[in-house]
């Protein structure tokens, strides 16, 4: 679906009725070019530093492998729970593919709508605090003035040992 778009872009620029010979030739050449691009799975934009994956740009769904899903679960520390969760991610990626249609040549990314204003910075003085008791009220595990955490520096177990839906997707 995503790969079919380049063809549409090309044909948009073409005359509706191709009468004379030169135009017909040009039209056939463009179709051939478009067809080649489509076969290679190419997209309209030039391959830049972002396309780190394969030399022939892959289908976006190739990016959603079990390794990537496992990596995401570790990064986010939330789990996919079931197949629906994975499907939701695939849908999201499919939806985001539409961004490729837009030509953003020479456009700077925008972080904030207030980018042309100076950020307000106040003096580095302590103006409030001493509310330890209040803040500790909401913590479940605490000892004196400390939040208590379980032992750290223990990485999350590997996929095989974790209790997660993705285990079923591992190749056996």
């Amino acid at each position: 679906m995503a790969a079919a778009r380049p063809l549409r872009h090309r044909s948009d620029a073409l005359p509706a009725r191709v009468d004379d010979v030169t135009n017909r030739f040009r039209w056939r050449a463009m179709r051939a070019l478009g067809l080649c691009r489509w076969l290679l799975g190419g997209t309209v934009r030039a391959l830049g530093p972002g396309a780190a994956t394969a030399s022939s740009a892959p289908s976006p769904q190739d990016g959603v492998t079990v390794e990537v899903l496992d990596h995401l679960e570790r990064l986010a520390l939330v789990d996919f729970r079931d197949a629906e969760g994975v499907e939701r991610l695939r849908e999201a990626v499919r939806f985001a593919e539409r961004l490729r249609e837009v030509n953003t040549e020479g456009v700077e990314p925008m972080d904030s709508v207030l980018e042309d204003r100076c950020l307000y910075l106040r003096e580095d003085d302590v103006t409030e605090g001493s509310c330890t008791a209040e803040l500790l009220k909401n913590a479940r595990e605490k000892v004196e003035e400390y939040f208590v955490a379980p032992p750290g520096n223990i990485p999350l177990p590997e996929l095989e040992e974790r209790d997660t839906f993705l285990k079923e997707k591992l190749p056996h």
């Binding site: 990537v68 986010a76 939330v78 925008m110 709508v113 207030l114 803040l135 999350l156």
Partner: protein
């Protein structure tokens, strides 16, 4: 009280606040298991300003979990019912589907995610309510509940204390029954806050809205891309009628083009999930909120806490956001979305630069749908469908207001949206007030057994500033 002087214009006025604003000593849950039982230690700046002005906090209103959604159906406290579902106007028009169907099953949603706030204002339980607006979350329920929903310019009102969803697009929203009230509430909330560095330092002067009589100097833009696929014919008709209303009154009505409107929802989808992935990282159970009993290691405790605390919707967005932020995807998705955002913002700059003062667009694609219909599609699909008309104003940080305009064939409210220039809320609300006066949106009529109390009297239902003088 003792001195016999009101604290401000809002002294004694009941106000409701959406449950993602921190309120000291009061449970703030964001309709999520993650924050159930969390008693906030401080007041959000906007809440503090309201309380300082003497407003009476009536309660915290229901929402979609963490303000993610467009129906107010996905919070842990359950869906919000639109008060108009119980109105005479709606009940008279319902065609019962079958005899075996229980009487209460065709109630409609409020829209989201500030559905609770909109319902509270619409049902006459309070004079004004605070919502939050990230992709239309104030204007969408305002349209479905027949109330005025104002989204101020980004940077005008402080976000300190508003549990963030998307830091670069969130704003506190104001829901009231008439435009004058919205201006009054805006007057007490707007202004620089040292605790929120994204508020602008310009001095804000609260204003009273002039009553516009002459619109001939006004230029109204009608963006053609807002005639989105799926727009109901009723809303299209109302939109056209509104444009004619302005034309007949002497204003200049022009068709304009915002070519990147179609991409705003995709752009929002990427930026929102990316920022959500970052903002939700603070919920680990250690300092506040739900904490799992898993104690093997910090990481596994975090993972278990987040698994138990977040719903499917929130988890889905976090995971999508993390995907778009992966090193191999960063340029393709996140940076690309930021570039598209600039294109969208530039579209608006161009249009406003060409002499258009206000844009007039529909707010929603249709009137409120019944709950049983709404839940047939999942949250993400619904959000992409429903936010399509409101989203672009958040991208560009522009002020926008929904004004209830007419009732649909099913007896439910339809609203129209006005989008104005940055920080020009006075102009925006002045035009909105003129329009509100022209359309004379009908009041909700409950069936007689519910209530015939005096406070349904139309003159007292509105004009906060007027009632103080009585």
């Amino acid at each position: 009280y003792r001195r016999g002087q009101p604290l401000g214009e809002l002294d004694g006025i009941p106000i409701a606040v959406k449950d993602n604003f921190n309120t000291a000593g009061i449970e703030t849950t964001c309709a999520s298991n993650m924050l159930k039982g969390y008693i906030s230690p401080y007041n959000a700046t906007v809440v503090q300003k309201l309380l300082d002005g003497g407003a009476v906090l009536l309660g915290k209103t229901n929402l979609d979990e963490f303000a993610m959604g467009s129906g107010s159906t996905d919070g842990v406290f359950g869906p919000v019912r639109n008060p108009w579902s119980y109105s005479r106007q709606y009940k008279e028009k319902i065609v019962p589907r079958s005899d075996s169907e229980p009487e209460n099953s065709n109630w409609v949603i409020t829209g989201g995610s500030s559905g609770g706030s909109a319902a509270a204002v619409s049902a006459f339980t309070c004079f004004a309510a605070l919502g939050s607006d990230t992709g239309g979350s104030t204007r969408n329920p305002a349209a479905h509940c027949g109330v005025v929903g104002l989204k101020p310019t980004y940077g005008l009102i402080s976000r300190h204390g508003l549990i963030p969803l998307v830091n670069s697009m969130d704003v506190p929203g104001i829901l009231t029954r008439c435009v004058d009230d919205a201006a009054v509430v805006l007057g007490s909330l707007a202004g620089h806050d040292p605790k929120d560095s994204t508020t602008v330092q310009d001095i804000f002067q609260p204003f009273a809205l002039p009553s516009l009589t002459d619109v001939s100097k006004l230029s109204i833009g009608i963006p053609k891309e807002y005639h989105a696929p799926g727009l109901s014919s009723e809303i299209l008709a109302v939109w056209s009628k509104a444009a004619d209303l302005f034309k007949n009154a002497g204003a200049k009505v022009v068709e304009v083009s915002l070519p990147h409107t179609h991409y705003s929802i995709v752009c929002y989808h990427v930026l929102c999930t990316a920022e959500v992935a970052s903002n939700m990282a603070r919920f680990d159970g250690l300092e506040y909120g739900h904490r799992s009993d898993m104690n093997k290691s910090t990481e596994s405790m975090y993972a278990a806490t987040r698994r138990e605390g977040f719903s499917d919707v929130v988890r889905g967005r976090i995971l999508s956001g993390n995907y778009f932020l992966l090193k191999q995807n960063y340029e393709d998705y996140f940076v690309k979305a930021q570039k598209v955002r600039r294109l969208i913002a530039n579209d608006f700059v161009k249009v406003f630069g060409s002499g258009v003062d206000i844009l007039l667009t529909p707010t929603t694609l249709s009137d409120a749908v019944p709950y049983v219909e709404f839940i047939k599609e999942d949250n993400r699909t619904r959000s992409t469908q429903d936010d399509i008309l409101t989203q672009a104003a958040n991208m560009a940080g522009l002020p926008a207001v929904n004004v209830p305009t007419a009732l649909s064939g099913r007896g439910l409210p339809i609203g129209l949206q006005f989008i104005g220039r940055s920080f020009q809320e006075k102009q925006l609300l002045t035009v909105a007030k003129w329009f509100e006066k022209q359309v004379q949106f009908p009041m909700i009529h409950y069936l007689s057994y519910i209530c015939e109390a005096a406070f349904f009297h139309p003159q007292r239902a509105c004009k906060v500033s007027g009632s103080l003088k009585n």
